[in-house]
Symmetry: D2
Subunit: 262 residues, 4 copies
């Protein structure tokens, strides 16, 4: 499906606040971005760069007053995610170099403390895709999706204890458990068509059978029509707005819809 | 000035032809791309990646038949290029690592054979910006801009002999001479507002005084309002279309105009 | 001083265990490695690669039985670290891109939760080097160096609470507090001449005044004669041995001594 | 075979001359460097960095007077190179991104002008390894190995005309012809055990069947026991000494021998 997606954010700053934004999706293996807009009101100088994970980031100093960010894109997306229950575990010694960093614990994914929980969950599942899927199922079943129960500092370990959270927490937990089994796992933030209520979304990918597969513990069934905006080890790497000072968020509106026929 | 630029290319292929395209400008230090479109007709799968120079490249297999490429963008550009006659030469030992590769000879810039010509041209000019500007002036004065006198294989050495060429040849010659004086120099392809006749354009940048400066030997005076599409060592790195098989080019149309007031 | 340093590690494995090692120092701005040895007994195939932080890493599968690792080097090192109390804070908007990732929270450095503590410690110190030094002093004074009080999972927040730890914990705490003040900070592991008892060591660097400076909260005074082996966001990135399975550590011996006159 | 290799170079400089050296082999997929030494007399400050091809490079300013460079290493090498006559051509659309730059023409490899010669040579050979091997054979048979017939500026096209050259020219010609057939090809400089007379050596690699294979047109038969020092597009990228000013080469001595039993 060809999707039109947008994100509009309004901040108020009381001083000059440097921020790093990450709202520009890139085309890649799984998606082709054919149209894109990105504007600030008031207009300010922008410097764009690519971070270590390949994300396009924008450095901006937000001036005092109200500041509007508008980002939108049109992208070709797959209607279904790839599902491959037989995809085998890749032994660490054979993993591509680029995946190795996604084996390590990170700020919100204390994989060094999750092996016991994860081992219990996957039980005798064949190693690889089936383990990641068992983890996804367990989260979907055992963690309650509930706004306001977690915050930007909540980690996988805390979510495993509290048994509630939002998409970001679900993803962190899935990532931490996969890594604890030596399966590389990374965080994705992006748009998902049909999400209700509509918002930016987070899910995770696990590397099995020689490639990355999508897992989304918040969804009852596997759904495609996703636009990935950014990849990273966890939410620390893929904050859509990293602010270095106090900003007041006035509003944020996200839309995702099929593109009109041309 | 905010510019709207576009490039429309129509090919005919008689077999499946893999190509690598490079028609997607990135925002960076000097330009901010606020809007962009990129479409193929017929639509084909695209994989986008970043090449070693930071350019966004698209891999496509063009199917037999007619194939249309449409790329357009809106970008904030500076009305004038920066000119700094006093910018000093940076000794090789102090150059940033990222510039070192732009000291070496490359396919169309035989800097290893240009020192004698370049030394004669720069004479007693202060080392640094003034040398690059002397080279630019010499090219503008001594090389005749003439279509049809060179081709895709023409190198700087050949242009220095023949004394004619097009923007690409002018740039190669400037790059080769700068490098022969140990000044890093690189090729840029992009859009230039007011170019007549309108077409894609090529110029070069030289690294002096701690940063890259723009030099355009085809223009009687320094002009801004440029949108850079790609950077590289020479035309071999920045071909907007690298084709791996025979393609017939039917038409190519480039437009650059001030964006309408919003 | 020219130093000879070595690290000998003996493991026993009960199965094939993949590991990633990071025991090969690289020459760089601050050190010149003139001699180096790196051997395994028994010899096994090794694949070396560079991780995202520029560290040379070795992938090995340790076979069942005893496995010995010997790494040694000779390096030119500075006798004193650079100290620059006036080095100013670099506003986030002006930081080099390569430093930005060292502003973010990471596994063992919960900088998102440390601002209050750090702000209290630095008080009215001029922003920049003086803040990092105030943090270093506070740690040296308030955290007790004590073996066995922390483990590989201990984080900066836990160390701030517990008030004891080892070099790695001291570094994490310094890093987390610097980042909470928007000062990029990174972890270094390496050799330090004169350390007592001799062992591998960890300290941190903060980016102020346009460059990285060394801070070592475990030392009563600034000491040079360091050989850096690896850089990263925290200990998760710079484990000298990342093991993906159970290994028994039999012994580890580190030596650092002035090289004999030649 | 475990090899000990060394390279000793003596220069005389009449002024301070910046150079970039590339004499430090790295371990990788094909070789494991267990011991290494690298020294300058007189000692000067050195900054080491990794170039875009992954080579470890050293920046040094050679002071006036005599300057000695000593580089040596011990490495595990394979006794035979891998030969795989059936390895198939990889269509451009399926090539790994990292290989794409090795399809383009470069300073000494004018692949844009070699397709006709290469097509004639490979004839009806199966596409892939067999083509690269046909090219290697043709060069071995038709180009005369002769010192003093070429120089540092000689390119593949010139060698194809002149029909003589040295290892570097043989490699350039092989690379240019492979690329003209859309086979990625790259230059390697390094040590070869048994070379007579002993010297630094150059050969090429072609990417077929999903990996890089070694081809050496100077050798009557495939020989292993090679230590790769540097990789690049051609000799412009892999000069072991890139000098930015006049240096007098007094002597250069290379040794390669089996390491003594330990």
């Amino acid at each position: 499906m060809i999707l039109d997606a947008s994100c509009d954010i309004v901040f108020t700053a009381h001083a000059e606040i440097p921020v790093i934004l990450m709202l520009r999706p890139r085309s890649g293996l799984g998606q082709w971005v054919t149209r894109e807009e990105y504007a600030f009101e008031p207009h300010v100088p922008v410097v764009e760069y690519t971070d270590p994970f390949g994300n396009l980031c924008q450095r901006v100093v937000i001036p005092p007053g109200e500041f509007q960010i508008h980002a939108s894109c049109r992208a070709h997306t797959a209607d279904a995610i790839d599902v491959e229950p037989q995809a085998p575990f890749v032994p660490v010694a054979q993993l591509p170099e680029s995946t190795l960093q996604f084996l390590l614990p990170s700020r919100y994914c204390e994989s060094d403390k999750m092996n016991s929980l994860a081992s219990g969950i996957v039980g005798d599942a064949p190693i690889g895709y089936a383990q990641a899927e068992a983890i996804r199922c367990w989260i979907a079943t055992n963690i309650k999706y509930q706004y306001g129960t977690s915050n930007a500092s909540t980690s996988a370990l805390e979510t495993a204890d509290a048994r509630h959270g939002v998409c970001r927490d679900f993803a962190h937990l899935g990532i931490a458990m996969c890594r604890s089994l030596n399966i590389p796992a990374r965080m994705v933030v992006g748009y998902l068509h049909g999400l209700n209520p509509m918002d930016l979304h987070a899910w995770f990918e696990a590397f099995v059978g020689g490639r990355w597969y999508t897992f989304d513990p918040t969804q009852p069934e596997a759904r495609g029509n996703r636009i990935s905006i950014a990849y990273g080890r966890d939410a620390a790497d893929v904050a859509l707005v990293s602010q270095f000072g106090a900003l007041q968020l006035n509003s944020m509106k996200v839309t995702v819809a099929p593109a009109p026929a041309e």
